[in-house]
Amino acid sequence: MTNFGLALALFGAAFAVIFAGIGSAKGVGLVGQASAGALSEDSSLFGKVLILQLLPGTQGLYGFIIAIFVLIRTNVLSGTPVELTWQQGLLYLAACLPIAFGGLLSGIHQGKVAAAGVSLVAKKPDQSGRAITMASLVEFYAILPFLISFLAVFRIG
């Protein structure tokens, strides 16, 4: 098979976007439902719940960034893809896995924390700072896999 390595690298890019995107979609969707509930009782909470809804969206963005870097490194974006050995392709694929699965799980769980935070804000609007802080802590576990994927993609020769 010609350029099997490139195919593996592109699979890695696809994983990063798809799985991290699913995590974000689930998280943002869940917080969106909770936000709709809170806003139907008090529309002045929009600014506070919007921040909470945005938080689980970052995982999808991280996956997207990693995929773009893979496309840049393999010259796919310029239209002249490089020839990759299957070992090199496998390395790209492996490099994408941390953000793919880290993004998937952290997105879902951050969504749950943020949705619970929306319920907290709905009952006690003055607690929005604490709700945002709690949801932000989950972000750490999206940043770690993102950094690993980022460094790995750049180090593959």
């Binding site: 709709a36 809170a38 009952k123």
Partner: protein
């Protein structure tokens, strides 16, 4: 249905929890110098919509209606709501049967909220077409109707329906995914059975009657409860003192209203656990019991104010609050 499907519902319910009466607000209502002042205070708290409204039944009915409308709007699984109104549904069935026997109109007796369509209930009971009701209610109505005809008294029908209501709750407790509802229903079964056993003891009923009147038990042993009730009141209280419901039994020895208050307070105490749950049906069920207790408190409070009862006595009857 997954717990996360309740995210919208829980957020709306949390927002409404913030509007429940606080201890300080209930204290203000209790200390109000007159009924009119208490009504005015309730108006200031958003309970009343217009100046003229001061009829207690109307105030309570509207609050119940608002509670039910909210739950119907937010809960994604409407079937889950039927568990919350089971006792009202069986009460309404009892009212429909009694009124059919006496050719009276049951409409003013019906309790809301009710999952059973009350028009269908009235029509099917009047026409003896019980099959138009949901299966469990149809079977119960048929048996109660036959018993009422056989004995020519409404009492046997009452007992059958009350026992069926407890069996229905016990069945719900066994099948519900909500851990909170399971505990609450089991407690309601046990506390209702204590009251039934006491009535049987006071009226000198025999063992077979008592066993047919007492429903499924959880923290109590049904055979021991029935046997003790047949032995008399003191034997019954001696048995209850050995059960987990001994605190309530001690209050029941003093007065039924103290026991009723204890039961309501225990329900609210158990419901408070849902404050730490953010998905699923538990927060919804907890709010239903919390708001119902609040409505009951306001009803007691307004009735007492209207009759000129002192704040000290009102305080003894006011239910525990959820917030």
């Amino acid at each position: 249905m997954r717990d996360t499907d309740y995210a919208y519902a829980v957020a709306r319910i949390r927002a409404n929890e913030g509007k429940l009466l606080t201890e300080a607000q209930v204290q203000t209502l209790t200390d109000a110098p007159s009924f009119e002042r208490a009504v005015q205070d309730l108006k200031n708290l958003g309970w009343l919509e217009n100046d003229e409204e001061s009829d207690i039944s109307a105030i309570i009915a509207r609050q119940n209606e608002q509670l039910w409308t909210l739950l119907q709007q937010v809960v994604p699984d409407k079937q889950a709501l039927s568990a919350l109104t089971a006792l009202n549904d069986f009460f309404n069935l009892k009212a429909a049967l009694k009124c059919m026997l006496t050719s009276a109109d049951p409409t003013p007796l019906y309790q809301q909220p009710s999952v059973l369509d009350l028009t269908v209930l009235t029509e099917s009971v009047n026409a003896h077409a019980f099959d138009r009701l949901p299966p469990f209610f149809a079977e119960c109505a048929k048996r109660a109707f036959e018993a009422a005809h056989r004995t020519e008294s409404g009492q046997s029908a009452d007992i059958l329906i009350d026992e069926a209501a407890l069996r229905y709750l016990a069945q719900m407790a066994d099948t519900t995914k909500s851990a909170l509802l399971r505990e609450l229903f089991r407690f309601i079964c046990d506390s209702t059975n204590i009251k039934t056993a006491l009535r049987c003891a006071r009226t000198g009923k025999d063992l077979s009657f008592t066993e047919s009147a007492v429903g499924p038990c959880f923290a109590l042993e049904k055979s021991q409860l029935c046997f003790a009730a047949v032995q008399g009141e003191s034997a019954l209280f001696a048995y209850l003192a050995t059960t987990p419901l001994s605190d309530g039994a001690a209050l029941l020895q003093k007065s039924t209203s103290a026991f009723e208050k204890w039961c309501d307070d225990v329900l609210i105490e158990q419901a408070k656990r849902a404050k730490y749950v953010f998905f699923g049906f538990d927060p919804i069920a907890a709010y239903f019991f919390a708001k119902s207790a609040e409505i009951k408190t306001v009803r007691i409070l307004l009735s007492a104010k209207k009759s000129g009862v002192s704040p000290e006595i009102i305080k003894e009857r006011v239910r525990a609050l959820y917030v």
